[in-house]
């Protein structure tokens, strides 16, 4: 199937009121519908309640959080947020945004270049390179972390944006290549061939023709990488101790609140870490989900 030729998801549904198949409805009518909603609502609760609780906890004192977990605070302690921000959350957030932006853009560019070449060009070593990257998906990062530290140190890139961006990119490449490789193989060959026959160079065929056609796949893997890189904390905690990113910063706060016993600020920090992501997600979730749609189906 050719995923790019269909219209975007979400526009193909719910039409044709007079289709003959309507007659077949009913076997799973209202009762099943209600049961579905019940089950789905239950899972919804498991997602919404914890986050809701955490948000409320962010306005409580430590005593209220553990002494009266279900209660509302006597007075909302918005100062928790100021405390959390002062403890570095704002700075961590900025670091994360810079690093993830750079890391994802570079990952997408390099990853799709490799994937395209591997998917569309036969050359000696093609399979070798492919497996080299594919195997990288399975590398336990822990195996490499100490030597990696010295590699980055020798390059003078510890606790720098460019160091983290390059490392994030390198560790995101395997999955990106694996994913885009599969995606490029689904694109019709004829278009690229036509472009080359029209005199396009291989490079401009890639950038002008293939990359735009691969947009749904890029979006999908892009989202995947944004999430993955944003949530990364093993790598930065070793390589960027002086310039913490957000996930790592949360861990640092988690450690430091053990000295200071301020769980209100801890939950405020969690809220600060969650809210922007959730808002971006809620705004863009159609794109995110439709990107997934087209991208993952080979």
């Amino acid at each position: 199937m050719a995923v790019t030729t269909g219209p975007p998801t979400g526009t193909t549904v719910d039409d044709g009121p007079d289709r003959p198949v309507r007659a077949a409805r009913g076997s799973a009518g209202g009762g099943a519908n209600l049961a579905s909603h019940l089950v789905l609502a239950l899972w919804t609760a498991t997602v919404v309640l914890p986050f809701g609780w955490a948000l409320i906890a962010s306005t409580k004192t430590t005593r209220e959080i553990f002494g009266d977990p279900w209660g509302l605070p006597e007075t909302a302690r918005w100062g928790n947020y100021a405390n959390a921000w002062d403890k570095g959350v704002g700075e961590y957030l900025l670091n994360s945004v810079v690093v993830v932006t750079g890391g994802v853009l570079l990952t997408m560019l390099l990853g799709s270049m490799v994937a395209y070449v591997l998917a569309r060009y036969e050359f000696p070593g093609n399979r070798l390179v492919y497996y080299l990257f594919a195997a990288g998906m399975m590398f336990p990062v822990f195996l490499a972390i100490v030597p990696l530290f010295y590699v980055v140190q020798n390059l003078g890139m510890l606790s720098t944006y460019r160091g983290l961006i390059l490392v994030y990119t390198a560790y995101s490449l395997p999955f990106t290549v694996f994913f885009m490789h599969a995606f490029f193989r689904t694109l019709p060959r004829s278009i690229a061939e036509a472009a080359v026959l029209d005199g396009c160079s291989h490079t401009s065929t890639f950038f002008r023709v293939m990359l735009p056609m691969a947009k749904p796949g890029l979006l999908s893997i892009g989202v995947f990488n944004v999430l993955g890189q944003f949530n990364q904390f093993v790598l930065p905690s070793f390589l960027s101790a002086q310039k913490p990113v957000l996930a790592q910063g949360i861990a640092t706060l988690l450690a430091s609140q053990r000295y200071e016993n301020d769980w209100g600020a801890m939950f405020a920090a969690l809220a600060i870490a969650m809210l922007p992501v959730v808002i971006v997600y809620v705004v863009f979730y159609r794109q995110i989900q439709s990107g997934l749609t087209s991208g993952t189906l080979k």
């Binding site: 553990f66 093993v234 905690s237 070793f238 053990r258 000295y259 016993n261």
Partner: protein, 470 residues
Amino acid sequence: MSLPNEHSRRVFMQRAVLASVLAAGGAGTLSACASGGSSGGASTGEGEVSADNPFGVAPDAPLDVVIFKGGYGDDYAKFHEELYKKQFADAEITHAGITDIRQQLQPRFNGGNPPDVIDNSGAEKLPISTLADTGQLSDLTALFDAESIDGGSVRDGVLPVAIEAGLYDDKPLVLNYALECYGMWYDQALFDSKGWALPETWADFMALCEEIKGAGIAPMAHQGKYPYYIQQFLMDLAVKHGGQEVAFAIDSLEPDAWKSESMVAAAEALAEVKGKGYMLDGTEGLDHIQSQTAWNEGKAAFIPCGSWLENEQKSVAPAEFVTTVAPTPLLDGAKLPYGSTRISAAEAFIVPSKAKNVAGGMEFLRIMLSKEGAAKFTELTAAPTVVKDAVGGLDLTPAAASVQALVESGGDDNWNYYYDVWYTPMDPKIQSAVAELAAGRLDATGFCDAAQKAADEAAADPTTNKRTRG
């Protein structure tokens, strides 16, 4: 890793602050001793040795100080650096206050350029016994033999635990600076209002627990997610029953050290507390914050902890709560007196042997061990140090006063153990077994077997450097 993941980290992390010595007004009592003054001398390489400069510090040699910025902060070190600067005005001092000691310093050790002084503490501390075994730490014998800034030798001016806690193969390699004291903590106000008296014997303790339980309060809570705490209770019972030898045998990895009569009796006692339902419901799964908060709320009467407890809980404890430490009760036939307890020294200061300015590092430690330096530490952190008589005359909170009283009442009978820092891979296994015992999933025999197995594994491990005490 960055996450607070280390098994025993809890404690090291917040080896924090003995609560309580009220800093207010403390400044007036500071020793007025002047620190050395300038000491002249050549500026090439090593400086000239003099009474004021016993290690021959080169006056213009830079000093690189890295401090664990945990519960004690790092302001005290900045004060010590000022004192150093007074003595060596030309020395350029680099100060770093960080929490991830290991992550930042590991590459510097590997690269052969470690700092001159390190406070190696916290969850992310460097493995100290490995550093000791590989000869990377300076011998501090010269420091303890040197003349103290306050007169007399440095050795005479500190509590013995300061030196003993830093001994590796009979050489003092580490200076543990902050004093810590362990015991069972309770709310004096609650006990007064109920008319409860502190139990000195196990029978009295059991009777009191029954009464407390009858009053609708859990007799005991512990920080179950970190078994280290309830382990203090267990070890205290065992060592006070059998004497110091119990701890010596354990630290020396003697065969069947964990199966001694005293250890079995202590394990049975702990199992009895659990078995009779005297533990706070679910306490085996609570972390320190949750359990200590429950205790502050009067849900439990006793909780085992170290002397940092009051400070750690100050934002949580109700105003009327009177945090107080009590000694662990005695099992029948105990050899040590009721008033004795475990005393340890924390905040492990080291001078790497490959540091560029070893003499400067030693001098920095000597300054820390002056009464002026120690008093400032206590003033800033509310925690006592290993320096004797540095803070006399300060107003103490009830918690600090009770700690002080316990330290004094124990005297030479106060004890300590070191296996956890000597044999790091063994410690999580012991703690795991303690957790099982305290949760009632292992009986005393099962615990002793599991603990002994861990000790035997450490003893059989060719990479372990066995040490002995006693």
